[in-house]
Amino acid sequence: MPETNLTSNLHLLLPEFLLATLAFAVFAIDLLLPANRKKLLAWVSVAGLIGLLALALALLWGENEEMYGGLIKVDSYALFFKSFFILLGIFIILSSVDYVGKHLSHPGEYYGLILFSVLAMNVMAASREILTAYVALELMSFSFYIMVSYARYNPRSNEAGIKYVLIGAFSSAILLFGISMLYSTIGVTHFADISATLANAGDASPALWVGLALILVGLGFKVAAVPFHMWAPDVYQGAPLPVTAYLAVGSKAAAFALMLRLFAEAFMPSIDDWQIIVAIIAAITMTVGNLVAIAQHNIKRLLAYSSIGQVGFLLVGIAALSETSPLASNGVMLHIVGYSFTNLAVFVGIIAFFNMTGKEEIADFSGLADRHPFLAAAMAIGMFSLAGLPFFAGFTTKFYLFTAAANEGLLWLAGLAIVNSLISLYYYQVEIRHMYIQPAPDMEGKLEPASAHNPHPPPVGGGAEDASRHSPTPLIIGVLILMVLGTFFVGVYPFPIVEALDAATSAILPGAGS
């Protein structure tokens, strides 16, 4: 790659530059706004992101160029994830607005951090060099470390933040160690070079395999694969709800975006060595996640374990990657998309419920269907989709993943995954039973008189916001409707998305064009 090319196509990074600018702008505007106008920050962020999405699509459509001598590649895979992450950022911000107003302080930094994490995710999906990917990964992690502990006066949130940082540092150390072992043995860090070296590394030193194993561990932590998952329930439970949602969807999607490119572009030649290991991790991950989810009482912990189970399904797709078939790669990405809609439908429902009641135990949802039928219906739809019932996103996406696994000869894994889907249906149904069948715990009778002389009033929330305590705000309902529609869309007619995925897959696996 000639030196002159290093900066000749910098304009292709315009969306990233502008995103960073937007984040700083939000920080700056925050300083100027009076305390009661902070909602404006959310609108600025959303408007900026929408503009960026349009810009990215207009500017980068069909581009396929390397930048900085191959550190970053702007291709259809990167564009797909860029659009996905920007949309995700928009939805997270929209579903945060009410929550932030009620339960959190310093909204400026909150929205700014979301923007930074979106930036980091975009770079993660675009990096083709392992250290660049690592740096992006760290930028995302730092944003999350802060956001997780954002409820400053909530001890659980603080605990979650501390745990996340410490374990995160531990895993970063492992990841970096793995990267350095890789570099020490083969002396390259570009994905393409790694791939070329691995292709004829039949007698490579054990240090290489240790290095790869450690990288797998580091990434396993980020996606909460078993046995590197134990932070997840604590952190999910402690973090503010929208952050939990973002963590469950965004950080996982980004880590998989990185992982998919890494495994497809760099590690593909030695798939025979790692396929079985990833498959075993996938099997353990989904089994542990789904089994332990059964025993949970807190909705956030339940979803933490359920998302661990979903990671197991995604790892099935990684294990089933193939140089000749786009099925597994498409499956992973489609599952990420479907899972995001679905999980957000559930989480946004919980956020709306929490905004009204301040509660998050599973039993608190009893009788929700009578009081807020739409909320209950949306959450039920999300959970049916998570369980993988037909017509919902979860069915279609899992169908892709499991078919890919079966085609690659991992029949036992596909079978186990189906059993796991069955198990997951149980604990989702417990929640649905609470919402639809269990009688309400006498909400009307208790809440009203209690609030008059309540010794422990709900965290914030003044007179003006009383209305939103009894019914979800139109904004939340709007986001919820979008998520439900998305869930059905992916489930019933995924064809347009699959077309985009085919393009993305052919960028990382040129031999797998459909």
């Binding site: 054990p206 561990v217 060595d273 059964i294 892709y400 699959v498």
Partner: protein
């Protein structure tokens, strides 16, 4: 197929998918927002189907102008989109548009539109008014999707939807036990046939490897499937058709379905439910054609059904049941026609019968509406004095169904008889008997209800509102003029050159047969006049002489009792045994056992998340070491 859109040119015909979609959307709109809309949202359903009817003309025009390949001699357009592909399994959603689909679209949208408008008056004041129209919309949408489906999987899905909707509408007044029972009976009886349909579809899938109809039919006509398999598949498909189209011995649900609101009966009998079976056989005709043995079964079942229905229609005294048995009889004739290669005749008769029967049911509903839901024909009589328009339209419908010349039913019945004469001439005598009986019971209903002396207690009876009469008038006009499409609609010739299987044929009129059937039909009316009006012929001695036969027919050939006995004794005994087995072995041991152990392992496993950081870090470290070792072992061992 494959690779998305298969679009020969931008065809208006492709817009046909909009027709069912509109009504589907109407269903959801009414269910979700109906209570906020005026009239509980009924107008949404009517607008949707009216738009669908308008779209039908666009589609018809588009289809006539489209350039599509021929299949079995007919222009056949298919449009499909890949739904999803995973490995070798390609599922697609698509529509097929050929003359059969086009005429069905026209029939269904028109009749449904008329029935819905009529329902505005008939169902006025009903508390679940909105729900009625919502299910109505869903019913119609499913039926429209059924005639458009280009693959058996989609067909099966909407086939079941049709069944569900009929269940909901027949049991619309579910507070009445008889209505709830009738709904159940209809659903379960047709379900038995549906099992056959599903098996047939799966058998074809196993042979051809696709659900796509065109591919399947191509494989069939290329002789890729053995004749034995083909006959089995055809018979299984026919089983589904027998259930839906109320063929012997599954016909028992249809008369009971009269428990639903009368406009629903009109819809079921003319445009949706029972039509589905005839449509299915016509649609899958390439399969039946290649399996002549199956066609003989179709013809035989059709004939038995036709005779059985006609005889029962002659003895019952419930106006709606007369019409129901008449439908059964005519469905039998259509099946007979299909069995005798009378593809065009069957569909033609189906259309003519559809318009006439919808008209008759709306007329019956009009009578009931004015007479406090009275359905016993012996309590009616002379209604022409108080309900002139209803009388006029009902008479048109009855004459058409009876096969009196110039009315639609005459032409179509003639085509059916001609087909029987050509291909199954040994059945012609029976077909003529059915035709005669058909005219006979129509004469009876007509004379007893509308002519003769008006009973004193019926003096208060008045004509129905215009919103009910207008649809009847439209249908009456059709029942008069529709038959002329047999002769000529374009310069190309009659319906036989538009809708045919393999070979177009112009209008044929077998003089002997035509004259014979006219004599039979007119004779039946004359005989009816002497019996029911002039009372010159007394039925008394006949009733004594044939007491046993009449009792058998009046008791519906004891089939209902036989089924009831079978359900009570055989099925229930078996069910009790299965239930016991299920409770003790399956549930306690096989389901709760593993379920409980899964739950336990979950409860125990959760303790591995201790909340202590060093445990977490330890877990990761152990995991890392384990992976490294595993990896090393695996790579060095290979």
């Amino acid at each position: 197929m494959g690779g998305g859109l298969d679009r020969p040119s931008m065809d208006l015909a492709e817009l046909a998918w909009l027709i069912p979609s509109l009504s589907f959307v109407a269903f959801f709109l009414i269910v979700l927002f109906g209570r906020f809309l005026p009239g509980q949202g009924a107008f949404v359903a009517i607008l949707a189907i009216a738009a669908g009817f308008a779209m039908f003309w666009v589609v018809l025009g588009g289809f006539l102008g489209a350039e599509c390949p021929d299949s079995f001699g007919q222009k056949t357009c298919t449009f499909n989109r890949e739904w999803f592909t995973a490995g070798s399994v390609v599922l697609s959603w698509g529509i097929i548009i050929d003359p059969l689909t086009v005429v069905m679209l026209g029939l269904v949208t028109l009749v449904a539109l008329m029935v819905q408008v009529y329902s505005l008056g008939y169902m006025h004041g009903e508390s679940r008014f909105g729900w009625y129209f919502a299910v109505h919309a869903l019913f119609v949408a499913s039926m429209l999707a059924l005639v458009l489906a280009d693959n058996f999987l989609l067909l099966y899905v909407v086939w079941e939807l049709v069944g569900v909707c009929s269940y909901l509408l027949i049991g619309f007044w579910y507070e009445r036990r008889s209505a709830a029972e009738a709904a159940k009976k209809a659903f379960i009886t047709t379900r038995i046939g549906d099992v056959g349909l599903l098996l047939g579809i799966l058998l074809l899938f196993k042979e051809v490897g696709t659900f796509d109809m065109s591919t399947t039919f191509a494989a069939v006509s290329a002789g890729e499937i053995g004749e034995g398999t083909l006959t089995a598949a055809a018979l299984l498909l026919f089983l589904g058709a027998m259930g839906k189209s109320a063929q012997f011995p599954f016909h028992v649900w249809l008369p009971d379905a009269m428990e639903g609101p009368t406009p629903v009966s009109a819809l079921i009998h003319a445009a949706t439910m029972v039509v589905a079976g005839v449509y299915l056989v016509a649609r899958a005709f390439p399969i039946f054609e290649a399996a002549p043995d199956a066609l003989i079964v179709v013809a035989a079942i059709g004939l038995i059904t036709a005779l059985m229905g006609a005889t029962m229609a002659l003895v019952v005294t419930d106006l709606k049941r007369i019409l129901a048995y008449s439908t059964i009889s005519h469905l039998g004739l259509m099946m007979l026609s299909l069995g005798a290669f009378g593809y065009t005749a069957a569909i033609f008769h189906h259309l003519a019968h559809g318009f006439s029967k919808a008209l008759l049911f709306l007329g019956a509903g009009s009578v009931m509406h004015s007479m406090n839901n009275e359905t016993d024909i012996n309590k009616m009589g002379g209604l022409r004095r108080v309900m002139p328009i209803t009388t006029l339209t009902f008479t048109v419908g009855a004459l058409s169904l009876a096969g009196i010349p110039i009315f639609a039913g005459f032409w179509s019945k003639d085509e059916v008889l001609l087909a029987v004469l050509d291909h199954k001439n040994y059945l012609l005598a029976f077909a003529l008997i059915a035709a005669f009986l058909s005219a006979m019971y129509m004469a009876r209903a007509l004379y007893v209800v509308f002519y003769g002396e008006l009973k004193a207690e019926n003096n208060h009876v008045h004509e129905s509102p215009w919103v009910m009469l207008a649809p009847m008038a439209v249908l009456a006009v059709l029942a008069v003029i529709f038959g002329f499409v047999a002769i000529r609609i374009t310069e190309a010739g009659g319906i036989g050159t538009f809708l045919f299987f393999n070979y177009p044929h112009g209008f044929e009129f077998n003089t002997g047969l035509g004259v014979g059937s006219i004599i039979l039909a007119v004779g039946a009316f004359v005989l009816g006049w002497y019996i029911y009006m002039a009372r010159r012929i007394s039925l008394g001695p006949w009733k004594v002489r044939f007491a046993a036969a009449i009792r058998v027919v009046g008791n519906k050939y004891y089939l209902d009792d036989l089924y009831q006995w079978g359900v009570d004794r055989v099925v229930m005994a078996f069910s009790r045994f299965v239930a016991l087995f299920d409770r003790v072995v399956i549930n306690d041991k096989a389901v709760n056992g593993p379920g409980e152990s899964v739950r336990r392992s979950g409860l125990n496993l959760r303790y591995h998340v201790t909340g202590r950081m060093y445990n977490y870090a330890m877990g990761m470290a152990v995991g890392a070491v384990a992976i490294a070792i595993l990896w090393w072992v695996l790579t060095t061992s290979t």
